[in-house]
Symmetry: C2
Subunit: 176 residues, 2 copies
């Protein structure tokens, strides 16, 4: 897997300082390689989400709406939540998202991966997943799992994900 972060300068020359980045997006925020020199994109694990904006993003990629109260609690109890922001000094816009649950050591599962359709096809989904994988690897997790819709299986395979190794199957149980 190509590490996109090694070939990218953290701060686009002149457009924003590290301090400004951290002020706006929290500690550890970093630049996401952008397909457009005029568009600064930022990964953040700390900038709080506007739940309405997050919900709109998730709905735009086809997730079904969920009670805001539950979403808030789910975020609070997620192992990792990543926002991909289109920088604006006054109104940064959330254009990508992913979160993980897990025990922080042995298991991590990725949920709710989304890139706003307007910004799809630019490689941002791959960069988002690279960032998620790298962040989980940094905290020592060596196996990550996810459930992929049929339409995005090829996307994950192209990034080095493995389908059902050793014949493992995934199963769901609905409490009804």
């Amino acid at each position: 897997m190509i590490n996109i972060f090694e070939r990218t300068s953290l701060i686009r020359s002149g457009s924003i300082t590290t301090e400004e980045l951290n002020d706006a997006y929290g500690k550890g925020a970093c630049e996401c390689p952008s397909p457009n020199e005029q568009m600064l994109l930022v990964f953040s694990q700390e900038r709080p989400f506007d739940l309405v904006e997050l919900e709109q993003l998730l709905i735009s990629v086809g997730w079904s709406q969920r009670p805001m109260r539950k979403v808030r609690s789910a975020l609070d109890h997620s192992l990792l939540k990543v926002g991909l922001w289109k920088h604006d000094q006054r109104f940064p816009r959330l254009i990508g998202f992913a979160r993980c649950t897990g025990d922080g050591v042995l298991e991590a599962t990725v949920w709710d991966v989304a890139v706003n359709p307007i910004y799809q096809g630019l490689g941002l989904g791959k960069q988002l997943m690279d960032y998620v994988n790298k962040s989980l690897k940094d905290i020592g997790i060596t196996r990550i799992t996810l459930f992929a819709d049929p339409g995005v299986v090829a996307f994950y395979l192209s990034q080095g994900w493995v389908l059902e190794p050793k014949g493992h199957r995934c199963a769901f149980w609905y409490a009804n």
Copy 2:
């Protein structure tokens, strides 16, 4: 799914009191229907695990060994951990185990389901999963996921689990 708890008395008459059960196994501990009148089995979410005993149980069902430090941390950060204990006044024995990760609201994933081979074939695996599902349902989770080895897919299907609904696929990523 039959609710096995409705047709079972919580306390086997005379063998142990609720207070003794809670003292030994923590708040909320409850009896697991036993195939043998002489054997009192208990589900507990609070009784601490001896990590060596837990590791031996997991290895006995074929999981590979993991660093004790990581297992401890993984347990600490699990949403739910269930021990199935064979009661003994001095030395309760861990004969079954399951744990879940998740956000406590929208997603829960079951890991490390194990019943000691000596006690397999008695319906305890089903009772353990019923207990896990019921516990998660009680905290409001409506969808549970797991990754099943090929050999136990039929076991989960027989309990009402659904394989890959809507064509969802599971994928794994290894950080190496």
